[in-house]
């Protein structure tokens, strides 16, 4: 009986902590995980493993922004997994923004030539350790690619930086436009 009470109390505490974390995430990423803040990514419908890996590496101080590192400092794995699970289950709701047809087509053809879909899948919903690109904020995607190019994104695997090798920087904008307009 006592054991059961202790377990339920511990469970309750974990839930409280998750609620506190979620309020903190919502401040920038949106309560439903769809960000309305320029430069801040949407995290709804991202693959769970991708979110876990990102959160762990940020906690370890080898990825992410200083703000994210300070928020995650000392967070136990189980809370990271709970957060990742929560956001991966939410729906992506990309903002309805106008499509520049020419830029969209250019992005589409650059993505095809560079086989982005091999890992991120043909509808760019991502999988496992590889993030969802469809409906992500345009300026965030463009900046992320530029950061890989300029070696400002340490801590990730070497593969993404390598995969952007040889793509012209103006095409990052086309790719970002294309991915951000997909649902």
């Amino acid at each position: 009986m006592l054991a059961a009470l202790l377990i339920s109390a511990a469970h309750g505490q974990a839930e409280d902590r998750l609620a506190v974390h979620l309020r903190s995430c919502a401040g920038c990423h949106g309560a439903d995980g769809n960000s309305a803040v320029p430069g801040t990514p949407s995290i709804a419908a991202q693959p769970q493993i991708f979110l876990e890996n990102y959160l762990v590496m940020t906690r370890e101080g080898i990825r992410g922004t200083q703000l994210m590192q300070s928020l995650l400092k000392g967070m136990p794995d189980r809370e990271i997994v709970a957060l990742a699970k929560h956001f991966s289950a939410l729906k992506a709701k990309p903002a309805r923004e106008p499509v520049d047809k020419k830029l969209f087509q250019r992005g589409k053809s650059v993505a095809a030539a560079n086989r982005c879909a091999s890992c991120h899948l043909p509808d760019f919903r991502g999988r496992e350790q590889m993030p969802r690109l469809a409906g992500q904020r345009e300026e965030f995607l463009a900046e992320a690619m530029l950061a890989y190019r300029q070696n400002r994104r340490p801590g990730g695997d070497t593969i993404m930086a390598a995969s952007l090798y040889g793509i012209a920087e103006q095409d990052f904008k086309a790719l970002a436009h294309y991915f951000s307009r997909l649902k």
């Binding site: 560079n114 695997d157 593969i159 390598a162 090798y165």
Partner: protein, 407 residues
């Protein structure tokens, strides 16, 4: 205006032309080099690692199968991403390197249980660990550290040896496996920084250094990516695994198990793979591409990812295991049907020119479902003759022991 003219051509030509145009500017993406047109829609990608802790209760140990008389137990958990193991001089402490999570662990054997602590973190893929003369050596892609007397001085500050080792800058395939040889020198591989390419001259080779980083010698070349080696205690020769290239289909070219019978051997990369497979990208039409190449003693399976090699010198296992080696195969990603995910036992012939391979520890993979749950990576031998096997996927160490079955 190139784009307009190719738009008139067939769709397949368009992709080819786009790639050719890219290739002229800069090399194509490192890990997709050599991906042929017919595999352009392939969705094969490296398997994701697990970066959170796995508890012993969540490890499906019962699925593991070993020959009769052998027993496996979960020996330690909580070393997320842990792979190569170096045993301290006391035999009670095991140091483990990692890749993505950037940590080095110390696992202390406390008899009935193990404790784990992080001795270094925030490193760039510190996969290389080796122990000699009371010191732990750690090698990341861009850093070399030595922890003197760490077994008794847990907070010892490392000595930075990076400058002496002159590590080249490329990252891909340049996470390290480290080991000290019978000559007390430190052996360090430098992988090809690509899937298939003409490697710059500092790469695709095995080197040895004095422990302080001086007197570097290249002892073998033409090695794509070796992640494990050991010395045959009878002959003193090094045996090493080498991963075959990707994107040539499910059949291979197979991984290699090689032997260094003399310094200076050339093992064929990037022109000649496995037992004489001529590379279609780098050696097209060159029939003599395997001339002067030291071919492997045996091949160890397509995309199998042979990692750690350990010659068995203990007395716990039956006599038939004396003089044989164990090899952990982490398992494939660039193959439609998964392969490997096991530990094999290899018996070399007396002259070392041939060898026989048989499965030893299986069950990490479900061939029917084409799924896996664990990835055996490295093997260490305890003083009592039992073997430790690291599982990089679940951050665990399993212990394999033997007692003769009752008759």
């Amino acid at each position: 205006m190139i784009r307009k003219s190719v738009a008139l051509a067939a769709a397949s030509m368009l992709v080819f032309a786009a790639q050719a145009a890219l290739a002229q500017d800069k090399p194509p993406p490192i890990w997709k080099q050599g991906q042929p047109e017919k595999l352009k829609d392939s969705k094969l990608a490296p398997n994701p690692g697990k970066m959170t802790e796995t508890e012993a209760a969540d490890i499906p140990l019962k699925k593991l199968k070993l020959p009769k008389g052998f027993k496996v137990e979960v020996w330690a958990t909580g070393m997320v991403g842990g792979r190569a193991m170096a045993i301290g001089d006391s035999g009670k402490k095991i140091y483990m390197g990692t890749r993505g999570i950037g940590r080095v662990y110390e696992v202390t054997d406390e008899g009935d249980k193990r404790s784990v602590r992080v001795v270094a973190d925030k490193l760039t893929q510190p996969s290389g660990v080796a122990f000699q003369g009371g010191s732990l050596y750690v090698m990341a892609i861009d850093k070399v550290l030595r922890f003197d007397g760490i077994e008794n001085k847990p907070d010892v500050a490392p000595v930075d040896l990076t400058a002496a080792f002159k590590l080249p800058p490329e990252q891909h395939h340049n996470w390290k496996y480290l080991a000290f040889g019978p000559d007390k020198k430190l052996y360090v591989p430098f992988g090809a920084p690509c899937n298939i390419c003409e490697p710059p001259k500092e790469y695709a080779q095995l080197r040895r250094y004095n422990p302080d980083g001086s007197d570097m010698e290249v002892i073998a070349t033409g090695i794509r990516n070796t992640q494990g080696f050991d010395w045959n205690p009878k002959t003193g020769e090094i045996w090493f695994t080498d991963h075959g290239r990707d994107w040539l289909g499910d059949k291979g070219p197979e991984d290699e198990l090689n032997r260094i019978d003399k310094p200076g051997n050339y093992y064929g990369y990037p022109y000649c793979h496995a037992k004489g497979v001529i590379d279609p990208d780098t050696a097209k039409g060159k029939k003599d591409a395997c001339k002067g190449v030291t071919l492997p003693v045996i091949t160890t399976g397509p995309h199998a990812a042979g990692m750690g090699v350990k010659f068995y010198t203990g007395e716990m296992f039956p006599k038939e295991y004396q003089g044989t080696m164990f090899i952990a195969r982490k398992g494939s990603w660039n193959r439609s049907k998964k392969f490997g995910y096991d530990v094999i036992n290899v018996r070399p012939s007396a002259d070392g020119k041939s060898a026989k391979l048989k499965p030893f520890m299986t069950g990490f993979m479900d061939p029917k479902k084409n799924t896996f749950w664990g990835r055996p990576a490295y093997i260490a031998q305890m003083t009592d003759g039992s073997l430790l096997v690291s599982d990089e996927q679940l951050g665990a160490i399993y212990r394999i022991s033997y007692s003769a079955p009752k008759k």
